[in-house]
């Protein structure tokens, strides 16, 4: 178990380095010049380029950067003129804060709603919950964010709340759908019939017996969902004006800022890797029969 955990952590780090290298190379391949801001002449551009060391071939710059990665020197961002590590750390903290709150809200809303949507006695409740989550699934995150932002600016609600809610609602719908279908799928388990035969009350069957059985299939996707929530959503950040990792990644890419773009991708890969690892560990804790690779 400990060996497996160490192996997974090692792999997560390898994933981070892989994402770093890949995005570095891809951004370098994209046409466009990081320095050209439309103000300088070609001569001063060339001088600036050689001063910053940007006229070296991409692979040698990558090698240098990877070497410095070991001491966590991620370079200076061309676009922001600040050290990359500080910039990415600060933005990631902002994003993770709102992402974690959104994840929590999504789980708190989605899981009970999913269980209710599957096991509630009244068909009105069941169909109502399904209808709401289908509607939320089909609205793009951007539209939800915009509608909320317009409503919120009128009512004086802080932008943090808008961001959290507009991230959480579609995620809650996904969780609800997963959970309710998983609950439906486990109803045929023999152990549940046995419990019913013993006279266990309906509520206890639902929560104490059926729900843990349904969790593995939910956890598989919740890990990915968590990763995406925690690594920022560009459109929502634009509307709520909360500068986070998503916006930073996009701006770095638009400005062809290699160091910053690669660092952002590495940060996002780290977050997603940790989220999926946590989900897998939870899966192992709940169902010890399935070994985590």
């Amino acid at each position: 178990m400990r060996r497996v955990l160490a192996a997974r952590l090692g792999f997560a780090l390898a994933l981070v380095v892989c994402a770093f290298i890949g995005v570095y190379v891809l951004t370098a391949l994209a046409p466009g010049d990081a320095l050209d801001d439309g103000l300088r002449t070609s001569a001063s551009l060339a001088a600036e380029r050689s001063r910053l060391g940007l006229d070296q071939p991409v692979l040698s710059r990558l090698a240098t950067r990877l070497g410095r990665l070991a001491v966590l020197d991620l370079g200076t961002s061309l676009r922001y003129n600040q050290p990359v590590l500080a910039l990415v750390t600060q933005r990631t903290a902002t994003t993770v804060q709102s992402g974690a709150a959104a994840l929590l809200l999504a789980l708190v809303i989605g899981i009970p709603a999913g269980v209710l949507g599957s096991r509630a006695r009244s068909p009105v409740v069941r169909h109502g919950i399904s209808a709401i989550s289908i509607l939320l699934l089909s609205l793009p995150a951007l539209v939800v964010a915009l509608v909320l932002a317009v409503v919120a600016s009128g009512a004086g609600v802080p932008s943090f709340a808008v961001m959290v809610i507009s991230l959480a609602l579609p995620a809650a719908a996904v969780v609800e759908r997963l959970q309710s279908r998983a609950m439906d799928a486990v109803q045929r388990e023999l152990c549940l019939d046995a419990a019913r035969a013993r006279g266990v009350p309906r509520g206890a069957i639902t929560w104490r017996h059926a729900w843990p059985l349904s969790l593995p299939s939910v956890l598989g996707v919740v890990g990915i969902l968590a990763g995406h929530l925690l690594s920022g959503a560009l459109a929502i950040e634009l509307v709520t004006a909360r500068s986070g990792l998503g916006l930073l990644t996009f701006e770095a890419l638009m400005a062809r800022d290699l160091d910053l773009a690669a660092a952002c991708a590495a940060a996002a890969a780290l977050i997603v890797g940790l989220a999926t690892l946590t989900a897998d560990l939870l899966h192992l804790w709940i169902d010890p029969r399935s070994a985590v690779p």
Partner: protein, 572 residues
């Protein structure tokens, strides 16, 4: 055991979540006591214009530093700032500037001639890599200055220079006592980043840096030693504090303006926002300023570089796309687009027709003598017939002389609503004349790259904004310039009319008589109108919106439109 663990986990998560949500809310609450709130689209890369040229740095630098002379954004004329007066001698080669005796830096020390000389010399320091260096050169040689006494500076120009002192509006004057050693060591940039200690920032502008919240806002406080006073004698700046919020999109800016969380936004209103803004102004929440036609206009141009040249496109099997480079095609396009419909569709009617690169918004240099081509589908068809592009098989689409359909790809900037809409309108309009346009979108850097490489057929884009004086656009006018859109960076002018254009624009730089300069630039504009390398359609009418609680707001067309005179703005 597992149940207990599960319950504890859930409890922990819920508590953690509550803590997170609470944290977000309090962070917002204490941000309401600042007096003036403006927005920036991105973080400033540096607080000194000497070191960085992006928009946010420009705005921050204008608020923190003071130059010798300043451009009044309303009249577009030069005004004295730190320089009280100046005299020109030796046919424009020498300018004697007298500094203001009461001008002080933020630490109380007086602004002396030595500081001016130091600042000008620092621009040309190669280790700094200053973006200002190119604008403070004449014929490739830098401007130099020497101090005659503590209040007088003599500027020496290598050759007579038409714009005169105008390029100096960009130069911030720094105290030499404090920064000479830093420039010597090459570490000036570190002293002016947004995270540098505020004690190390000494400048002569209306505001000083108080604090920087990374990614959120830049807080400025008033400079107690600022020299300027208002007409009624009030000490400027009128407000004690100015906060620059970082808001990355115009939608978010409009939301903030609407909910009174921002007083001033970065840019003018978009045509789609106008109805809402007018309604809010009627309610008394906003005040609007109509400034007339904008200074910038979007342009359509074709890649005129001949194939085989560095920026030309290699065509397969000979040059089958030569018809794209003919003047008749551009004439036809100019005739085929109804400007009135264009304005209605793209700008919702809030634009005026323009006929040249220099729009009516540019008071001094606009040429009203140049009239646009009339809208006439017949004349457009005639021009196309002349180059052999006609509809040979009656399907409504013209074919060129090789019987291939008359089609070309138009590059537009992705995500830019107005330009995308304009491209669609152009596509529809040209379809009526039998030309097929395919629209491709790329981001701004990709577009720039294709422009430099010449790997495109047609583009709909605009020049980066600059000063109203044509000397700011030399990269566009000269054939060797990087922004000579249709054929950039030529080693020598390839066509006769480009040679003539080069001559005219080089000559106007060294003319000191303003009327003579104007006539030369007029000739250049007429040449551009005859040859039509770029086709212009309309310039939007600029409307600026600020919150209603501001007083003494004097917006102008040049960016930054409201904050250029931030010292004068007061709160009711």
């Amino acid at each position: 055991m597992k149940r207990l663990g599960g319950v504890l986990l859930v409890l922990l998560l819920v508590l953690g979540g509550l803590w997170l949500l609470r944290d977000g809310r309090t962070a917002r609450r204490d941000a309401r006591n600042v007096e003036l709130v403006a927005t920036l689209r991105s973080e400033p890369r540096s607080l000194n214009r000497l070191l960085a040229g992006d928009r946010a740095s420009l705005v921050a630098s204008q608020l923190i530093h003071e130059p010798l002379v300043r451009v009044n954004h309303v009249t577009q004329a030069l005004e004295p700032a730190l320089a009280a007066s100046w005299t020109v001698a030796d046919g424009g080669r020498l300018v004697r500037i007298t500094l203001r005796p009461d001008a002080r830096f933020s630490d109380g020390s007086p602004v002396t001639a030595a500081d001016v000389v130091f600042s000008l010399a620092a621009v040309h320091d190669p280790r700094l890599g200053s973006p200002l260096a190119d604008s403070l050169r004449v014929n490739g040689a830098p401007l130099t200055a020497r101090a005659l006494d503590t209040q007088t500076v003599e500027l020496a120009y290598p050759a007579p220079f038409g714009p005169g002192l105008r390029p100096l509006h960009a130069l911030p004057i720094l105290p030499s006592a404090r920064y000479a050693s830093l420039v010597g060591a090459g570490t000036l940039a570190a002293a002016w980043t947004t995270d540098a200690p505020t004690a190390g920032m000494v400048s002569a502008g209306p505001f000083m840096l108080a604090r920087h919240d990374p990614g959120v806002a830049v807080h400025l406080v008033r400079n107690p030693h600022y020299w300027r006073t208002a007409d009624d004698g009030t000490r400027l700046p009128r407000v004690d504090r100015l906060r620059l919020d970082i808001v990355p999109s115009q939608d978010a800016e409009m939301l903030r303006l609407r909910s009174a969380q921002a007083d001033i936004i970065t840019a003018e209103l978009r045509p789609d926002d106008l109805p809402e803004a007018r309604a809010l102004a009627a309610q008394g929440q906003l005040q609007l300023f109509e400034l007339g036609p904008s200074l910038d206009t979007d342009m359509l141009w074709f890649n005129l570089a001949p194939p085989g040249s560095p920026s030309g496109v290699e065509g397969p099997g000979g040059d089958r796309r030569a018809w794209l480079r003919t003047r008749e095609l551009r004439e036809a396009i100019s005739h085929a687009v109804d400007r009135a419909t264009f304005i209605n569709a793209v700008y919702r009617g809030a634009a005026v027709q323009v006929s040249g690169v220099i729009t009516p918004g540019n008071h001094v240099w606009h040429a009203p003598e140049i009239t646009p081509r009339p809208f006439s589908l017949a004349m457009a068809g005639e021009q196309l017939d002349r180059i052999g592009v006609r509809d040979r098989n009656g399907d409504g689409v013209r074919e060129d002389i090789y019987n291939a359909p008359a089609k070309f790809t138009l590059l537009v900037q992705q995500g830019h609503t107005i330009r995308q809409r304009a491209a669609l309108v152009l596509q529809e309009a040209l379809a009526k004349v039998g030309l097929q346009v395919e629209i491709a979108s790329l981001d701004a850097r990709g577009l720039q790259q294709r422009l430099a490489e010449g790997s495109y057929e047609a583009m709909y884009h605009a020049l980066p904004g600059s000063d109203t004086d044509p000397s700011g656009l030399m990269e566009f006018w000269l054939s060797s310039g990087r922004f000579h859109l249709w054929h950039p960076a030529q080693p020598a002018a390839t066509t006769r009319w480009e040679q003539e254009l080069d001559l005219l624009m080089t000559r106007q730089l060294s003319m000191t008589d303003p009327e003579e300069r104007r006539q030369t630039v007029l000739q250049a504009q007429k040449l551009l109108d005859t040859e039509l390398p770029v086709i212009v359609f309309a310039a939007p009418l600029v409307t600026i919106a600020t919150s209603a609680r501001l007083a003494h707001v004097t917006p102008g067309l040049l960016a930054p439109q409201v904050l250029w005179n931030a010292a004068d703005i007061g709160v009711r």
